[in-house]
Symmetry: C2
Subunit: 259 residues, 2 copies
């Protein structure tokens, strides 16, 4: 009874709150006014995947075999596009791509595209995330190759960022917001023109409006997925317009000259 | 590399916001302080499933073949327990159970168990949901067989409830909250001792504290799933203790005599 159609595969569980928030934002950012206009997806939520930060530090099991297993299960169930809403796991992205027979979205590319969409083309950009993401080359090299300067929170605010992520994972969101706000203030004071939330736990902590653009890697990946899933091959690109009241998005045909 | 283990299968898409909210609550209600302590699940989010209310009214395609397809996909990927966070779809529950080879949770049973857990053992209980759920026998017969009186919102507040559900589906949450609050006020005035939110879109609209217990079918199903997934066969039952600050749950061993 089910006609062949596009289906999004999502590797979840990294962490569980981030994955639930990703599908919430995917739904909110989809320009739909009825259930049947939404994107079919399968979320493979496997929280048993070993800790990505520990593996990056060389003290824990590698998550790669688990993530590749999830990718294969998603392919088997019919996913035509796959995404992994976890930044740290993208250290092994090349390996995932080699084992994936359908297109695989890259959260770093999606986040940097969103930075560009926000009108920030140069200058100091702060990166907040796990130790691997802040200290490793994942975002650093991608930002530098696009001509940005990379700004990291100085000590002890880098530790506050790691605390915020751990507190989201353990369900202590009030404490996490406190740690995160200190960290945000630090990079704003240091002259950041924009902040990248380069860990999918961090966007859960954003409250109110900041004086500089805050780019959520969750929203960036969700938008990239919506565009790929809903845009006809020769159609107009989708423009996301946040409704401040409802956070829903609208489809606004955009002329090619403006794109 | 993946050891055989319990996995929860979730039939989503009915509607997409309700499914995302279900996995959010499942995560929040799981007593876990690290990613790896959470429940492995696969969420098969198929928003193409035909409208359940239209089918119940006899004017739309039946959703059954689609839901049975989703159940079979979840079984094939390894689900050891399946749940369907959509109340109206439970009109066809018998058919789903016949086609499902693993245990299938029933949202009506879970919601009535939560009503009992809230200490409401008799009296008038209001049912808010789709027309099918309010006017059909699904909750009515289950409540009456347990000795409760069924209270439905009177006109035009029953229509306000249907509007609230439609508004959630179309992403207009502010308008939905307005319609829903009117409807809640109506059943409180009519003397309800408790309110069942018998549609998985409605718990998204609850704000603040009401003077009578409000039983969310989303939380009820999520708790039933957590208990089944985490309780060892001969272990203590899990007691959910809402932390007013964080909405997380704790495991509190409960003596069998108190259960």
């Amino acid at each position: 009874v089910i006609e062949s159609q596009k289906m999004l595969g999502i590797v979840g569980g990294m962490g569980p709150r981030a994955a639930a928030y990703f599908v919430t934002r995917l739904t909110e950012l989809t320009p739909a006014i009825a259930d049947q206009q939404h994107i079919p997806y399968v979320l493979y939520g496997d929280p048993r995947i070993p800790d990505r930060s520990l593996a990056w530090s060389g003290v824990g099991d590698a998550p790669t075999a688990w993530i590749i297993h999830a990718i294969r299960e998603l392919e088997a169930i019919g996913a035509t596009l796959i995404c992994i809403p976890c930044n740290t796991s993208h250290y092994w992205f090349g390996e995932f791509r080699r084992h994936c027979s359908v297109p695989l979205l890259n959260i770093v590319d999606a986040t940097l595209d969103s930075l560009d969409d926000a009108g920030i083309a140069e200058g100091k950009v702060a990166v907040l995330g796990t130790a691997a993401t802040m200290r490793g080359g994942l975002y650093k090299s991608a930002l530098m190759s696009r001509g940005y300067e990379v700004l990291l929170p100085e000590s002890p605010y880098d530790e506050a960022c790691l605390c915020a992520i751990a507190e989201v994972k353990s369900g202590h969101l009030t404490e996490a917001r406190y740690s995160f706000t200190n960290c945000l203030d630090c990079v704003v004071r240091a002259g950041a023109r924009a902040v990248l939330l380069a860990c999918t736990e961090l966007p859960l902590l954003v409250e109110g409006h900041l004086e500089i653009p805050v780019i959520s890697s969750v929203d960036a990946l969700a938008r990239a997925a919506v565009v790929q899933m809903l845009s006809p091959p020769d159609g107009f690109p989708i423009t996301f317009v946040d409704n401040p009241n409802e956070q829903i998005a609208a489809v606004q045909p955009k002329r090619r000259e403006d794109a």
